[in-house]
């Protein structure tokens, strides 16, 4: 048996279709207008943000230039000399220097206290020798 496709082209069917399409179109249009209305401030805000960014970039660049201008090698050099700094190469090579002895605090015991038995977690400090410490520094 062969099924036959028949097209319903009656006026009520067309009317129904037309109504549905118009409704869908109107809903879509409403949705679009609604979205546009709901987001109408986005573009304004973006423009304002772009303007703010432009101002901030200009400020940043100006500050960068100011910092660069204030930290030029010439200024640093002049400042260093006015502060009485000397160049490393012009300082007389120092062969040796006396290191002043620092007096020991008055209340320092002659030898470290013995660790008490109840403190015992097995930690036992070696006795500190009071012999003289010599340090030699050599340029290489």
């Amino acid at each position: 048996m062969i099924a036959r496709l028949t097209m319903d082209t009656s006026a009520p069917t067309w009317r129904g279709r037309a109504m549905r399409y118009v409704l869908i179109y109107m809903v879509l249009a409403l949705v679009l207008v609604g979205v546009r209305y709901a987001t109408h401030d986005v573009r304004v805000n973006l423009r304002a943000a772009a303007d703010r960014e432009k101002v901030l970039i200009a400020q940043r660049d100006t500050l960068e230039v100011q910092v660069q201008t204030l930290t030029t090698p010439q200024r640093i050099r002049e400042w260093a000399f006015t502060q009485g700094m000397r160049r490393f190469a012009e300082a007389e090579p120092k062969m040796n220097a006396d290191i002043p002895t620092i007096p020991l605090p008055a209340n320092l015991p002659a030898s470290p206290p013995e660790p008490s038995s109840d403190a015992g977690v097995g930690l036992k400090l070696p006795p500190v020798s009071q012999s003289r410490l010599e340090v030699r520094t050599q340029w290489k």
């Binding site: 230039v65 030029t72 090698p73 010439q74 160049r87 490393f88 190469a89």
Partner: protein, 448 residues
């Protein structure tokens, strides 16, 4: 009545046109904003010029070209007019800068500042007219400093004279005077015409050049016999005339060419002067003798530094470079490495034995040669106008940088040893301090 209608239609036409224009303008404003003027866009999109450590020498901020370092390397950087570069690198690299590309230089701002300060102090103290200093890195030929005096601030370029804008180390030519002796002795040693210990009879004056000759004289008192080493130490012109006596003119001139004199410096795009060597046909005995002490030829400070760099760089000429990535330049061997090493010892002795008070720093090995050149005025050597010159390198035992100094027209103490040498010492002191190079303790100093 007809006239009225005609007028009214005209008014309506104009109104319609105005409204149409207004609409177009409003639309343009809405869509992309009207162009605010071509100048601002051109300036803002222009590339920056930065030094080797990244310090900005020129950049665009808010539609304006600014030079944050002020006078630092002002003549090298140059300046920009309303839409185009006018001087210096701003004009030399105008196309790439206009295309938004950044330009990275080999200049080291601290070395540049140090050289500018030393030069300014020297020129002012000795009442000079102008001067220049070049510092180049020995192995690579990178220009670390190119200083000019008087200073120039591109931010206020309209207030400066064209003279102040001149990039002197690259453009000013002068007779290098006795500094050349170091290079000529190097060439003579390389050719076997002399040795450091060869002895010459050196009266204070000597007639050179046969029938068309002239008498040359020495300025510094010295013994009646000098070795080659002492000829440099006393800067004896008479001694030099003996050293080059058997040097064929063509060979000697060729050596000077190989050192870079009379040749274009292979610096792409940037303007430099060539200087001058006399044509070979004019080289008689007198010209050969005068060229041996730097008269009758001319050079820029940049060329002089590049030439001395040959001795510092084991005999290899490397052409100076100012812009990173602008090509490898030229490299050629001028003298053998052992000749260059011998010359470094001789030039260190010039400072250590002769002018340590002016050019030496205790604990450091510096080498170089002074020069005092009379300036030609109206075709004659002037007796009142001098160029004070110095070229050297350091550390002399293993050079890292080569320095050339020139000061023109000093009125007080104009000799090279009195003016240019202390400027060299100042530059050396600053750089050695920056490197933190430890001084050699006297009793451990190697025999040089």
């Amino acid at each position: 009545m007809e006239v009225k209608i005609h007028n009214r239609s005209r008014v309506m036409q104009v109104l319609a046109l105005a409204m149409f224009t207004l609409l177009v303008w409003a639309y343009a404003q809405l869509e992309w904003g009207l162009p605010q003027g071509i100048r601002r866009t051109v300036v803002q999109s222009r590339g920056s010029i930065v030094a080797s450590d990244g310090s900005v020498l020129a950049r665009s901020v808010s539609g304006k070209r600014v030079y944050p370092q002020g006078t630092l390397a002002g003549q090298v950087v140059g300046m920009m007019g309303s839409t185009e570069g006018l001087e210096g690198l701003e004009v030399a690299y105008n196309n790439s800068l206009a295309a938004g590309e950044d330009l990275k230089l080999t200049l080291d701002p601290r070395t540049q500042a140090n050289a500018e300060a030393a030069l300014a102090e020297g020129v002012k103290k000795h009442q000079g007219e102008y001067g220049s200093v070049v510092v180049i890195e020995t192995r690579t030929g990178r220009v670390l400093a190119a200083a000019s005096y008087p200073p120039f601030n591109p931010n206020e370029w309209r207030t400066y004279s064209p003279d102040a804008r001149r990039n002197r180390p690259f453009l000013d030519v002068f007779e290098p005077g006795s500094t050349i002796k170091g290079l000529v002795v190097g060439a003579a040693l390389n050719e076997g015409h002399t040795t450091p210990t060869t002895v010459y009879d050196t009266p204070m004056r000597r007639y050179v050049g046969g029938r068309w000759g002239s008498t040359i004289g020495d300025a510094v008192d010295h013994p009646s016999q000098l070795t080659t080493k002492q000829v440099l130490r006393y800067s004896s012109n008479v001694g030099m005339s003996h050293i080059v006596e058997h040097f064929p003119a063509a060979d000697m001139r060729n050596y000077l060419s190989q050192y870079g004199f009379g040749q274009d410096v292979a610096l792409p795009v940037v303007s430099t002067s060539t200087g001058r060597l006399q044509a070979l046909r004019k080289w008689d005995d007198l010209v050969r003798a005068t060229n041996a002490f730097g008269q009758g030829m001319s050079s820029t400070t940049l060329q002089l530094a590049a030439a001395f760099n040959v001795l510092a760089n084991d005999g290899l000429y490397v052409s100076p470079r100012l812009v990173e990535g602008s090509g490898a330049g030229e490299r050629r061997e001028v003298v053998r490495p052992e000749t260059a090493k011998t010359m470094r010892v001789l030039l260190q002795a010039v400072i250590d034995d002769g002018i340590f008070h002016a050019a030496g720093i205790k604990g450091y090995a510096l080498g170089g040669k002074t020069g005092t050149a009379q300036v030609v005025v109206d075709g004659k050597y002037s007796n009142s106008l001098y160029d004070s010159v110095f070229a050297g390198f350091f550390p002399a035992d293993a050079p890292r940088v080569t320095v050339a100094v020139m000061v023109h027209g000093a009125k007080l103490d104009y000799h090279g040893s009195q003016l240019a040498a202390p400027i060299y010492r100042e530059v050396a002191s600053g750089m050695l301090s920056e490197w933190g190079a430890a001084p050699t303790v006297a009793d451990k100093k190697p025999e040089q």
